[in-house]
């Protein structure tokens, strides 16, 4: 049984594709995250995808490794809890912190 994690892909009012994740991301479910991100990227065509991690309480290096190959097309939104980790791995330039 992998760690609990759910996804939802929606269009925000600006028309951007938003992948919202809720739960915790670690090596046991990084593959699910990867599949969800691939789906969202395909759906968005060439447009950037916003990955909303505000409801994610925990992400480790396996989860972050999913994001790196798509760094040019991904914008991250994260809570204050996750911000220090994302900053440490150098994702602060594609990240917005939301309380």
């Amino acid at each position: 049984m992998s760690t609990e994690l759910t996804f939802a892909t929606v269009q925000d009012p600006d028309g951007a594709t938003v992948l919202s994740a809720a739960g915790e991301i670690d090596m046991s479910n990084a593959a699910e995250f990867s599949a969800a991100l691939d789906g969202a990227l395909a759906e968005a065509g060439d447009a950037p995808v916003v990955v909303d991690l505000t409801k994610v309480d925990y992400i480790d290096s396996a989860g972050l490794a999913v994001v790196f190959p798509h760094i040019d097309r991904v914008r991250l939104v994260a809570s204050e809890v996750l911000a220090p980790v994302l900053t440490v791995v150098g994702l602060d330039d594609v990240m917005t912190v939301r309380a």
């Binding site: 049984m1 992998s2 760690t3 609990e4 915790e24 670690d26 090596m27 046991s28 925990y58 992400i59 480790d60 290096s61 396996a62 972050l64 490794a65 790196f68 190959p69 809890v81 996750l82 220090p84 980790v85 440490v88 791995v89």
Partner: protein, 1338 residues
């Protein structure tokens, strides 16, 4: 609700629940479980869920229930039969004991309490002795009626039996110093064994004797006599025979001493513990036998040494002091008399005197020979000699004596081909003694002497046909002072020393002497001496002497022998010159004249008148002679060289000893003036030459008689003083000795001729070689000159150099004639007493050392220091030769190891080891050694003395005695060491919880060594709901008695806490217990119940010092609420309880007053100091902190009271162990998140820790997977005040991160490093450990 099924009622009861459900409840008075009242169901549920042993009874028949713990600990084979049965049936065999108690509970509603109650339960197929501490509490049904009871029980069988056995072993091992003999020891051991009849219903101790076995001791129930099989125990094996165990009494390095038959307790199984106990008890008995036998053997040896020493000392001191001086005084005058040619009768009498004096002299000389041999001072000079001729010449001396005795005499000494190396004087003594001996005991037949060569040796035999010696006496023939009684001999005189001397002298030649004898037929002595000189010390070999006269010392032997023979009229050997017959001696005169003719004339003239005359050539010689033997009259010329007559008179008058001696001056100078001058100078009379012989004789007679009248008093005084047994002396004001008596000369060797002896007196010890002795004498001398009277004991040096001790006392008196102050003193020789006292006090000091010491090395080094002080040694070495490794060296100053010792020192020690045990070896190089038995092997002891310091015979005796005692003492300490180890192992088993809950650290330090337990204790108890009971207590007193009380209080408190889980109630219940337990009154106890999740602590204190809490920021809280009086003391308002919440990362400290209490300081002072220590150490780990607290609080000289210490930090560490699978990451995070919250960590730090720990775990999972599915990961998290520390341990090896190859891998480590204060990765053969450390922001 009321229709629950049986399965539901017993749910959660595990196997017991399942079996309870299977009971046919419908056939019991309780009916179907579904119908049971709620109260019963609740009771059953509590029962089943408890992990503490419990059983309960409910309903009219007291139907029996129990839980799994009770089943395991107590019920045994009665399970599951007992379930649902009436309790009276289940426990039929002990119902007499427990029935009334249950009755009391049900009738009064009051709980009962029993401590360690003995119950014989049948759970293992036999009635088993068991002990239970239990409480019966009432159970009520839904209506509140008493319908049953719950029993919480703790089985304490192991503890009770363990303590009992320990007590027996302790008593056996106690060391009653009065025990000396084997029988005393066995009686003592039997008394101890008999006190434990439970474990040893009877014991029989058998010892192996030459013929079989012998019952040496028996205890307990009478046993019929029977033969026990001994094959197994003889081999050293234990054997069980029926209800008895046969245990060998093992002897170290030998076959068993015997065996012990131990009756077995029929109510206990013979398990390892029981068997071990019996074997240990037998071991104690065996050790006791070993000790007693060794003690007896060594005691005998020491007594023999002391006895020999006493005999010798007594004999030699008698001989030297009582015989030698008078002997000389007999011999001299007798020779003078014989010289004067007395007539027949007088001459015959003088001969008798002379022969006896010679005989005495010979005996004294023989004894002195012995003392020389013993002291190694016999200076042998071996020269190549013709043994046959030498022996024949010596034998010829006895020719006439043998013939006169009517015996045949055969001397058969053909020449030998080779010379034999002989010491002339010694050989003479050997042959003459043997011949003298033969003649003494032979009445018919004859004596023969032969010399032959046999192989590489010359054989000399002296055979007689005399009385012979009984066979039994032959072995003692050469023993010193041994005389064979009831043997016909020519004389009863004899010291029994001649043959012993012969043997010593033959052995000095490297030869042997044997005796063959048949009673009534005769005796043959056979001496074998090897040819050549190889067997003799090279430095004692001298070239052949000049014209050998082999009969130089034969005179006394032959004269003595002749006197044994009848018709003795032989006396012409000393053939006196023809002497003029003279009148009886009237006076002793001293003649001084420088003219030899005049001197001879005066001498002849005065002798003819019957006077004894001594003649000297000048005044000085006269003065010296007068001082030695004060004459009756001095006849002196006036004109003489060196000292003339007038000066002589003046000198005589100036000396108190000679002031009264009359002087008759002779002078060629006539006239009044000369005469007056002489008389004024103090002369008594004056005669002018030439004078007629008649005038001279008349003047002499007149002066002698006048002087006798005048000096009667003075002569009486002199005679009196000379007859004193004590030495007598007179000193002038300056301390110069001016008068002495003859005993003074006997003791010190300094005679009157040397008077006066000005200070420093010649008998003072040498300042260089004996500074201590010199100081003592100087101090005594100061006393003598300053005080009016006094006494002192000092070492002095005899004229011949040997040191002796004298006890002196003195008085100041005023000389009535001169009015001057003089000092009169006496002293006696106390050398023997002095050494006896020194010996006794050294032995006593040694015994004290051995008693005080608690380890072998400790005993040895303190004894070595004593030996050093005793002999003012520069160093004392002890080397124990264990046989298989390098000897263990101990010295007085810590000292070097064996391989660091100088080579010669190693050699000395090795040679000492090779000597016979307890035989001192002294060397001229300034040291002495001895070997003795150390428990680990032979020990060589070496006392290195300062240069010049002699090691006397007394010193050697003392060393032998001390070494003997030391050997015994070391063996005893060795045994006590072993016994203590055994006792400690047992003691440790009754102290402290086996396993502490996480987050706790404890320390314990008992005041009384060597015990490891005292009156203080700490305890932790796992309670339901994960709560933890914490107890720290302190019984009054310390030592074993307090420890016993402590053990019971601790057990009781533990059981009560399990029952109540409420500190105040627990203490209240403990009060009742304490009242009944002697020694438990006034014990103080802190009792708390901690919820480690929340940090909530409920606590109550019975007079115990307050607990201390240190917050992470250093704030201190004292838990001083919930206070009441110590245990057993009336508390009118009951015992209050207080609540406290231990903050996150705070440290809780509990302790007993021994930690903080100091004399003359308030308790609060100590509490303040320990609080500061904990405050400063709040960042350290809990274990390090515990060590730091114990060390920093240690008073100078160590703790003098028991100390118990318990530390807890909230929260306890988190310890997780999980399989290396990624699905476990989420639950691990959840657990860690919860723990971080309990530790009060802020969200950001917590998230950082979660990610870093997650990365470490993820890495570990990758490695864990690579090594198969069995890999496991262990995560441990601990908190201090300002740091978090985590370790993640796996069994794999980490990949080296290579970010360039795959930029997205290996990011985990980067993350950890970025988020944590410190990261360490340690990869070893067993796996990888990641250490994470994060500072907690304040």
């Amino acid at each position: 609700m009321s229709n629950a099924s049986a399965a539901e009622v017993f749910a959660g009861g595990g196997e017991v629940g399942h079996d309870l459900a299977a009971v046919e409840w419908e056939s019991t008075p309780l009916g179907a479980p579904g119908q049971w009242p709620q109260s019963l169901r609740t009771a059953v549920s509590i029962l089943l869920s408890s992990r503490f042993p419990m059983w309960m009874a409910w309903g009219p028949e007291l139907t029996f229930f129990c839980n799994a713990a009770y089943r395991r600990d107590t019920l045994g084979r009665k399970y599951p039969w007992a379930l649902g049965r009436p309790a009276s049936e289940v426990w039929a065999e002990i119902w007499d004991d427990i029935g009334p108690r249950i009755e009391t509970v049900l009738s009064t509603g009051q709980a009962t309490w029993d401590e360690a109650l003995l119950l014989f339960v049948e759970r293992s197929g036999y009635p088993e002795e068991s002990y239970h501490t239990f409480s019966y509490s009432p159970l009520r049904d839904d209506d509140g009626d008493l319908v049953g009871m719950l029993c919480v029980v703790s089985e304490v069988t192991e503890r009770v039996i363990g303590e009992r056995r320990m007590a027996t072993l302790r008593d056996l091992g106690s060391d009653p110093s009065a025990i000396r003999t084997e029988q005393q020891m066995l009686t003592f051991a039997a008394a101890q064994l008999d006190r434990n009849r439970q474990d040893l219903p009877f014991t029989l101790i058998y010892l192996f004797t030459e013929g079989g076995v012998e019952l040496a001791a028996a205890t307990g129930a009478e046993q019929e006599e029977r033969e026990w099989p001994t094959a197994a125990v003889t081999r050293g094996e234990t054997q069980q025979i029926g209800q008895a165990l046969l245990v060998p009494l093992l002897q170290q390095g030998g076959s068993p001493y015997g065996f012990m038959v131990a009756g077995l307790n029929e109510f206990r199984a013979l398990d390892d513990g029981y068997r071990g106990f019996i074997e240990l008890a037998a071991g104690h008995v065996a050790a006791g036998i070993a000790s007693a036998r060794s003690y007896e053997a060594q005691q005998r040896r020491a007594e023999e040494l002391a006895e020999l020493d006493r005999a010798k000392t007594a004999f030699f001191s008698n001989i030297s002091h009582e015989f030698r001086t008078p002997l000389t005084l007999i011999m001299g005058p007798v020779e003078d008399l014989l010289d004067r040619g007395p007539d027949g009768q007088t001459r015959a009498e003088l001969d008798v005197i002379q022969r006896n004096a010679l005989r005495l002299g010979k005996l004294v000389n023989t004894l002195l020979d012995f003392s020389r041999i013993e002291a190694g001072r016999m200076q042998a000079r071996y020269e190549p000699a013709d043994l046959a001729t030498a022996t024949a010449e010596l034998a010829s001396v006895f020719q006439s004596a043998v013939e006169r005795a009517g015996l045949t005499y055969k001397v058969d000494c053909p020449p030998l081909a080779q010379p034999v190396f002989l010491d002339r004087g010694m050989w003479e003594k050997i042959v003459l003694n043997l011949l003298s001996n033969a003649l003494k005991f032979t009445f018919t037949g004859g004596i023969s002497v032969t010399v032959r060569a046999e192989g590489d040796a010359a054989v000399v035999t002296v055979a007689d046909t005399g009385a012979g010696v009984p066979e039994a006496e032959i072995p003692r023939l050469f023993e010193r002072f041994h005389r064979i009684d009831n043997t016909q001999s020519r004389s009863n005189e004899g010291s029994g020393i001649g043959l012993a001397l012969v043997k010593e002298l033959v052995e000095l030649h490297g030869g042997t002497i044997t005796a063959d004898s048949t009673l009534g037929e005769g005796t043959t002595f056979t001496i074998r001496l090897r040819f050549g000189a190889e067997h003799l010390p090279p430095d004692a070999i001298v070239p052949v002497g000049k014209a050998a006269d082999w009969k130089a010392g034969a005179g006394p032997y032959v004269q003595e022998a002749l006197r044994w023979l009848p018709g003795d009229e032989n006396g012409d050997e000393n053939g006196g010159e023809n002497a003029v017959r003279t009148a009886p001696t009237k006076a002793r005169l001293l003649v001084a004249d420088d003219n030899a003719d005049m001197r001879d004339y005066l001498t002849r003239l005065l002798r003819s008148a019957g006077h004894a005359v001594e003649a000297v050539g000048d005044g000085q010689a006269a003065l010296e002679a007068a001082r030695v033997h004060n004459p009756d009259l001095i006849v002196s010329d006036v004109m003489m060289p060196r000292l003339d007559g007038l000066q002589l008179v003046a000198a005589l008058r100036a000396d108190p000893r000679t002031a009264g001696t009359p002087v008759l001056l002779l002078s060629a100078r006539a006239g009044q003036e000369a005469s007056i001058e002489g008389l004024e100078a103090g002369a008594d009379d004056y005669l002018v030459k030439p004078f007629s012989s008649a005038e001279l004789l008349a003047r002499v007679r007149a002066n002698v008689e006048l002087a006798r009248l005048r000096n009667h008093h003075a002569r009486w005084r002199t005679a009196l003083i000379d007859s004193l047994q004590e030495a007598f002396f007179v000193c002038d004001e300056d301390g110069a000795v001016i008068e002495i008596n003859s005993t003074f000369t006997d003791i010190l060797g300094y005679g009157p001729e040397g008077l006066p002896y000005p200070p420093v007196h010649p008998w003072w010890p040498d300042q260089e070689s004996d500074p201590d002795g010199y100081q003592q004498v100087a101090a005594a001398f100061a006393l003598l000159v300053d005080k009016t009277h006094g006494s002192y004991t000092i070492p002095v040096s005899h004229r011949d150099g040997h040191v002796l001790w004298v006890a002196a006392s003195f008085n100041q008196v005023r000389d009535p004639d001169s009015g001057r102050r003089v000092i009169v003193g006496t002293f006696r020789d106390v050398t023997a007493e002095h050494y006896a006292v020194q010996r006794e006090s050294a032995l006593a000091a040694l015994s004290v050392r051995l008693t005080e010491a608690d380890s072998l090395p400790g005993a040895l080094s303190s004894v070595l220091r004593d030996l050093r002080d005793l002999w003012q040694a520069t160093q004392v070495y002890a080397a124990v030769f264990t046989g298989d490794s390098t000897p263990a060296v101990t010295t007085t100053d810590g000292g070097p190891r064996w391989d660091e010792l100088p080579g010669h020192q190693r050699q000395i020690l090795a040679s000492v080891r090779d000597e016979a045990l307890l035989t001192p070896v002294a060397e001229r190089t300034g040291g002495a050694g001895i070997s003795l038995e150390h428990p680990n092997g032979t020990m060589a002891l070496w006392v290195q003395l300062a240069e010049n310091r002699p090691f006397t015979e007394q010193d050697q005796t003392l060393l032998a005695l001390l070494a003997g005692r030391l050997g015994q003492g070391l063996h005893r300490i060795h045994q006590i060491d072993q016994q203590r180890e055994t006792a400690l192992a047992l003691q440790r088993a009754i102290l402290g919880p086996a396993q502490l809950p996480a987050g706790f650290a404890v320390r314990y330090s008992p005041a009384t060594r060597p015990l490891k337990v005292g009156g203080d204790w700490y305890d932790t108890v796992a309670l339901p709901d994960e709560r933890i009971g914490i107890v720290v207590g302190d019984c009054v007193g310390h030592g074993l008695q307090a420890a016993t009380v402590m053990g019971q209080l601790r057990s009781a408190c533990r059981a009560l806490l399990l029952q109540n889980t409420d500190p105040a109630q627990t203490l209240t219940a403990l009060d009742r217990f304490a009242v009944q337990l002697p020694g438990a009154m006034c014990a103080t106890v802190f009792c708390g119940v901690l919820d480690p999740v929340t940090g909530d602590l409920a606590y109550a204190s019975a007079g115990h010092p307050p607990a201390v809490v240190t917050h992470p920021d250093g704030t201190l809280d004292l838990l001083d609420q919930g206070r009441s009086r110590p245990l057993g003391v009336h508390n009118p308002s009951g015992r209050p309880e207080a609540h406290y919440t231990v903050p996150s990362r705070a440290t809780l400290l509990l302790y007993t007053d021994g930690l903080v209490e100091r004399r003359r300081l308030p308790l609060t002072d100590g509490i303040g100091r320990v609080a500061v220590t904990v405050q400063q150490g709040r960042g350290a780990s809990i274990e390090d902190l515990a060590t730091e607290v114990m060390e920093s609080m240690t008073p100078d000289g160590g703790y003098d009271d028991d100390v118990a210490l318990l530390l807890y930090r909230q929260p306890g560490p988190l310890e997780l162990d999980f399989p290396a699978e990624s699905t476990r990451l989420a639950p691990v995070r959840s657990a860690l998140r919860g723990w971080l919250a309990r530790a009060g960590i802020d969200p950001t730090t917590a998230q950082n820790v979660l990610v870093a720990a997650g990365e470490a775990c993820a890495n570990a999972i990758e490695h864990g997977h690579r090594h198969g599915p069995a890999g496991r990961i262990r995560l441990i998290a601990t908190a201090t005040a300002d740091y978090l520390r985590l370790t993640v341990t796996d069994s794999g090896r980490w990949k080296t991160p290579r970010p360039a190859e795959n930029p997205h891998r290996g990011r985990g480590l980067t993350l950890m490093r970025a988020l944590m204060t410190e990261v360490t990765v340690t990869t070893g053969a067993a796996g990888t450990v990641v250490g994470l450390q994060a500072r907690i922001p304040q």
